[in-house]
């Protein structure tokens, strides 16, 4: 799930933006999907079939996409800084999710969804991992080989230069933020499949996790630089550190210290690199 969020976040940060709302949008999309499936299942979706599951997926994508579209419109059209816009939607999406369920997690997730996507495997490859890999490959293709990707880099390098070159900067930003919302919606659906509940209070730091992974992977917070491959590595470094510390037996309180140190070092390295490049 983090990888799916981080792939979308890579696009946003390359445009010199930020999206703090992805964790809350994930929760909102999961709640919408669970509620839709529950309603279609007659109050209990546990034994619901594939049709209901597909309806839930569509609901999650629409729920996430709408928040992304709203973020994009406010950033690109109203010209409100992305930090403020997504900080607002971070709270609003979580509040909306709690309004839908009265703050209580929905727990009647279709068994077909849990067995198929949540815990299903093909050739010992978990379906969740396969889906995340497909999203990552698609993201890498989109960013590094298409006109959309080139425009993303151009907007992040210099929005004014991109505009003068004929790139519809505002429209592109709306598409990027909408895409991130869609991926957050997909991540919400994956979360639902894996945990079997909407986990409303369980994603409060997903936004920071995703941003940290992207920055660790070498994507510049100033925009114009980044790779999806780097983001994949950025997702795994904290995970390897955490797992390694547990196995080695290091006190768990050292884990955040180590992860934070690596993150700060990555940003420092990016600054040094930029200064070096600017000097020529």
């Amino acid at each position: 799930m983090l990888l799916v969020l981080a792939v979308g976040m890579t696009f946003v940060i390359i445009t010199a933006g930020i999206d703090l709302s992805v964790g809350s949008v994930l929760v909102f999309a999961g709640v919408v999907a669970a509620t839709v499936m529950e309603a279609l299942g007659g109050g209990d979706a546990t034994d619901a079939g594939p049709g209901v599951v597909i309806a839930g997926l569509v609901a999650a994508l629409v729920g996430g996409g709408v928040w992304g579209l709203l973020n994009g419109l406010l950033v690109a059209m109203a010209r409100i800084p992305p930090l403020i816009v997504t900080l607002g939607s971070f709270g609003a999406a979580l509040g909306a999710a709690q309004l839908v369920t009265d703050g209580v997690d929905v727990r009647t997730v279709p068994k077909a969804l849990r067995d198929g996507l949540g815990f299903g495997q093909t050739f010992q490859v978990p379906h969740m991992v396969a889906l995340a890999a497909v999203v990552t490959l698609a993201g890498a293709w989109l960013l590094h080989t298409t006109r959309f990707g080139r425009r993303t880099f151009a907007v992040g390098s210099s929005a004014e230069a991109a505009r003068r070159a004929g790139i519809p900067v505002r429209g592109h930003l709306v598409r990027v933020y909408t895409g991130v919302g869609l991926l957050a919606g997909l991540a919400g659906f994956m979360s639902l499949a894996y945990f079997g509940t909407t986990t409303i209070s369980g994603h409060s730091t997903d936004n920071l996790n995703a941003i940290a992974a992207v920055v660790l992977g070498g994507t510049s917070l100033f925009g114009g630089v980044g790779t999806v491959f780097g983001t994949v590595i950025g997702v795994f470094i904290p995970a390897v550190l955490t797992k390694g510390f547990v196995i080695v037996g290091v006190q768990q309180f050292w884990q955040p210290v180590a992860i934070s140190a690596v993150l700060v070092a990555a940003v420092w390295f990016d600054q040094v690199r930029r200064r070096s490049r600017d000097r020529g």
Binding site: N209, F236, A239, T242, K243, I247, V248, D270
Partner: protein
């Protein structure tokens, strides 16, 4: 722009291009971490089970400090 200016990027060696890419260095950090933990606990870290848990565990998805 002279012909020399145009040629310059192509003349950089593979090593130089790798060294200039931050992705290379962060990948190296990941490799070093994996080697380090594998040396410290060769019986427990470099296993298929560890790889599977890294890929799918909740910890993998929310490994930020406060999670």
């Amino acid at each position: 722009m002279t012909e020399t200016d145009v040629r310059e990027p192509a003349q950089r060696s593979l090593v130089q291009r790798l060294a200039a890419a931050s992705t290379f260095w962060i990948a190296l950090v990941l490799v070093v971490l994996c080697v380090l933990f594998s040396v410290l606990r060769p019986d427990a870290f470099p296993t298929l089970f560890t790889l599977q848990t890294l890929l799918i565990e909740r910890r993998c998805c929310s490994c930020w400090p406060s999670a």
